[in-house]
Symmetry: C2
Subunit: 337 residues, 2 copies
Amino acid sequence: MRIVRIAIAGFGGVGKATAHLLLSRRPRYCHVYGADVRLVAVCGSRSGNRSDEGLEEDAFSNLEDGLSGPDFIAQSNAEILIEAGPSDFRTGGPGLAYLRSALSAGCDTIVISKGALVHSGRKLRALAEGSGSILKLSGAAAAALPTIDLVEQSLKGCEVLEVEGILNATTNYLLDAMVTRGIGFETALREAQDGGFAEADPRNDTEGWDTACKLLILANFGLGADLAMNDLAVEGIQTVTSERIAAFREQGLVPKLIGHFSRSEKGIVAGVGIRSYPLSHPFAQVRGKDKAIRIVTDAMGETLAMGSGTEPLATAAAALKDLEHILAARSALSGFR
Amino acid sequence: MRIVRIAIAGFGGVGKATAHLLLSRRPRYCHVYGADVRLVAVCGSRSGNRSDEGLEEDAFSNLEDGLSGPDFIAQSNAEILIEAGPSDFRTGGPGLAYLRSALSAGCDTIVISKGALVHSGRKLRALAEGSGSILKLSGAAAAALPTIDLVEQSLKGCEVLEVEGILNATTNYLLDAMVTRGIGFETALREAQDGGFAEADPRNDTEGWDTACKLLILANFGLGADLAMNDLAVEGIQTVTSERIAAFREQGLVPKLIGHFSRSEKGIVAGVGIRSYPLSHPFAQVRGKDKAIRIVTDAMGETLAMGSGTEPLATAAAALKDLEHILAARSALSGFR
């Protein structure tokens, strides 16, 4: 049986969930792809662990200081890197160095963190094309909610005219709580922070940046666009006061933070902002931490998807869906190098 | 440029729409796949047309009697057959002979009509495996609504625990009209018949058989089941009287005709029947001729998709999405035979 070596860089909640799910699915990879999938290296920002025979669960809590960084991963001889580090779209974050190193070396790469893709998407894609490596990023494009899949698989051949998405769980939770329970932004935010799904500094979510990152990744990697963050008008939910909520309610409308993209003869328009929907619109029913996307194409009309997986498991599953697509593609292409 | 020869068997509304859309996308196939895609044969039940150079639009209204049947298609040397004939799940319909012939000969096949897949799905799959041909069937599994795509692509690696689907446009239109406008079944049916989206004999839709066919195809081709029609309890919308509608309304519920599938330790349970949903459930908002599916998996929670394409264009686009997947797969596998 062919051996497939996997490394995970970034070992917080999502990286660990991915590692656990990967180990639990090893029998499936054997059975379906004839692949002995081994997790040969994991690392966080300062420490890591490695085994040519494949790490088991007990190794995850036993990381060694100093085992970290792109060279550590390169030395593991992994054919596939899963990048799950912290996301920073202004600098590319720590993921950028890992991705550059892996893609240059012809290592197939599954990206979960958005920062590097937003910061250097075009360069990373060029690196992948140059080395013949596969670059997958379901985990970075709204994770368990199908987005790029829909465009590339379900709607293949159609021209995408318009996209609207509720792409950020935290802001949807906050708005939903404010609308349905009449609580204020600060109270809702504290709830979300206590629940562990809003950061201590929530601005990346509440100011719309996380939504913008996902939209930009979808546009650039799924819709043939070449947008930079500066091309997007980005508005958050800070402007949604209790008074505005009350006004929406009076009109029978539900406000949502929407990433939107449209393409016409005049070109591409993309941005993030508040839009409101009548109760009969499916977006009005997207509750709590759920996400949704609506895609309009020339030949298939409107297609909507909604997702409500539990994190971090759902994001781990999105990354490992990418892994299976790589396993299948490499099988078809006569095996791993 | 490599030439890819396509034949279409079954030349009613959907077959013709597929032919038109295919011709309009020839520049795309050239550009994206380096393929000179030619429509070398089309036929209905009694007449057809053929050209090695590829048929143009004007040939579609100029069919010659006697040019029809599996041998006619075989003589066209098509590498890909699109089967769009009338569907009959009790006999397999005329599609069955075309599919047997094409799949035996190693011809890749895109199936739009459901009958043969329900009647002889396992045998057809075995024929495809034996000859190495690709068998695709998006057009038969709820067309523009992503169903098998979702399972095979977006949810890959996850275990599907439960599926519910509003899979039949006609019955959803009828129920929606009865619920939202308070009209009776007969009035709604006449509207749908006048609008051309209900048959003169509507029982295939109203008795639940079309929903059952789609569910069975999804189960057998997408979910690893091996069901026959007799394994499904099939109920239609005939039992939904005005009195029942009124009772649902009073409870704030919306009735829908649902194909459902669930898998547990006890085995698979699948069927078709009326289920009702509160207004806050996305299914309650699936209006008119729209369709929807809800899939519950172990690792990604709930995923919903809703679609509202215009027929027959949307079904044609679903079939041609299959074509692109075949073009891509054959490119990866070093070209056509």
